[in-house]
Amino acid sequence: MFNGLRSILGRRRLLILGGAVAATATVLLAVVGVSSGAKEKTLTVAFVSQGTSNSWAAQLDAVARKTAKRLGVKLVYFNGQGDATKQLPELQRAIAQRPDALVVVPLGQAADTGPVERAMSQKMKVVLCDSKVNTNNYTSLVNPDPATATVPLTKWLTKKMAHKGNLLYIGGLPGNGTTILYDQGFFKVMKQNPKVHMTKAGNSNYSISTAKQLAATAIASGKKFDGAWGVGGEAVTGIMQAFIDAKVKPIPPIAGAAATNGTLRLAVQNHIQSAMLQFPPADSKVCIETAVKAAKGKKVPKYINISLLPQYGNLYPPLKRYYKPQYSDDMYVGTDKVLNRSELAALNLVKKK
């Protein structure tokens, strides 16, 4: 047959035809190869974390990693080491790698502003996770809003106090952004309750030990408290521990905690009426999902208020529903919804029998 063709077309023509067929096939293969490669290209998300400096950050990181794996994106981790000055060069390093999206857990509101704006100018998708920076030039902000979340909590507390009596208040860290937002919501409601007299015992500086010492002193003054408010989980844990150790019965209603399994345990075991908000590390799931969506060119909201999502809403009695005795005190509510038991065990969050 080949000899027949050669005789019909001639050797030269046959060679030209063969070359043309081969070239067409090569071009077709190249086109098909590129398009299938584009479909399989893995997105890269740079995650500039706070760094595993405490249990909240450890859970935040673990949830972010798992979410990235589930979504099939490459997560490049940058460790902020719990310090704004150490996080800044990490953020700059992350931008230099030109990822498809950048998720930042800002430690320095002012310091991180410049790099975030630079990343945006380089057409990167930037998602701020759990804290703001001093600019609106970002793709999306995923953050709980204590200023709004504390309003119903304070209302619950003052209602429990029948809108009168003595209230023990322990603050957070002076000047800290979260503390300021907590206070905004709390004092807004307190202004409407002039018959509630506040005893401001001091600032806990987000230390359980300091909060306990301040609360113990206030309780020892002999004043009868009808309610207590602490800015953050540490303050509330310290307050609860102080009431328990002082053998006050019944312990007055306490609100303000960022819900952990530990605060829930104290409340459940000691029959304390308590209401808590959520500052969940599990929200890094939302941060990563938003970043991936944005990187894929989909539209994402400029602000996602975590406190308004049903799974991250405030917790009210009965708190037994939320307490998980099989897990350690450090576990934040919601982490077990993302991580399975073996992943929680790897984080020391499962109690051994």
Binding site: T52, S53, N54, S55, A57, A58, Q59, Y169, G171, P174, M198, T199, K200, A201, G202, N203, N205, S207, I208, S209, T210, K212, Q213, L214, A216, T217, A218, I219, A220, S221, G222, K223, E234, T237, G238, Q241, D245, A246, G262, S328, D329, D330, L347, N348, L349, K351, K352
Partner: protein, 350 residues
Amino acid sequence: MFGRVRGLDVAEDAATTDTRRGVEGAPPARSPFERLREHRARVYAFPLVLPSLVAVLLVVFEPGFYRTANLHVLMQQWSVLGLVALGQLLVLLVAGIDLSVGAVMDASLIIIALMNRNGDHLLASLVLCICFGAGVGLVNGLLVSLRDVPPFAATLGTLACIEGGILVYTKGIPAGNIPDSLRPVALSGVGIVPYSLIICLVIAAVLMFVLQRTTYGRKIYAVGRSPEVAHRAAISTTQVRVAAYVMCSVLAALAGIVLSAYVGYVDPKIGGNYNLESIAACVLGGVAFTGGEGGVIGVLAGALFLRVLVNVLTLSSLNVFTQLIVQGAVMLVAVAAFQVIKRRTALERW
């Protein structure tokens, strides 16, 4: 028993006169008024006069302060700071400083929490805490004495290593618990006096005896005032310094144990403020940064003053921001007044 330090009296005549007085030579009989007129007595009286003055003012302005429950709480809190400050005193006396005491306290809590996570291993965990403290003190002491690393840098480095080690080991999640059997150390006691304060006062008494009545105590003061002179007087400055750092860290570990018992919850940053507070208590108590000056009673009084200040501000229900200002201002006034008295007495000596 209280032998003389070889050559000290020749090399260091004026510096050690006061500490040796009353031990070797028979002091001339003096009235209390005369003794108060003496320079050093006047300086050391300040930390005692200050809390006394505060105590009188409290009767008038904050009578709730003298409630039994409040005094009990105050004593609980004083004992912790007292223990740390006593350790800091030893290091400051040899012209050092220890910024790792807070980290040692954190580590004590973590050791207790982790070792008692799956059962009661209280005794073993307590022994380990003390051994850990001794180890940290040994490292600090050797770095400062043998490698001439400035105490500030050496102990800051140790602090970073301990905090980093805790994070690496726990992955940021300590996840243990404080055993109930430990809690009576801070919560129970004799009458209103908690056991923790009894422990603190016993240690203070032993320390006072050692500093005032033993050769080792005089060596500490000698090394702090002039290491060169002490060295010429055949005192092993290395031994004295290392021992001071070891004691300091052991006391910090003990304070960590007591504070863990008091708080009763795993707070991995339990020692947070104690670095600066222990130094502040020492300074208020008349301890000099330059070394060789200060004593146990002054330091305990300084620690008590700080705790009373926080206690009164808490009871006062002032605005939390104003509380910070008042706290800082009172401390500044107290330290400034103390420095004025010290300078005047120094001038009078000339």
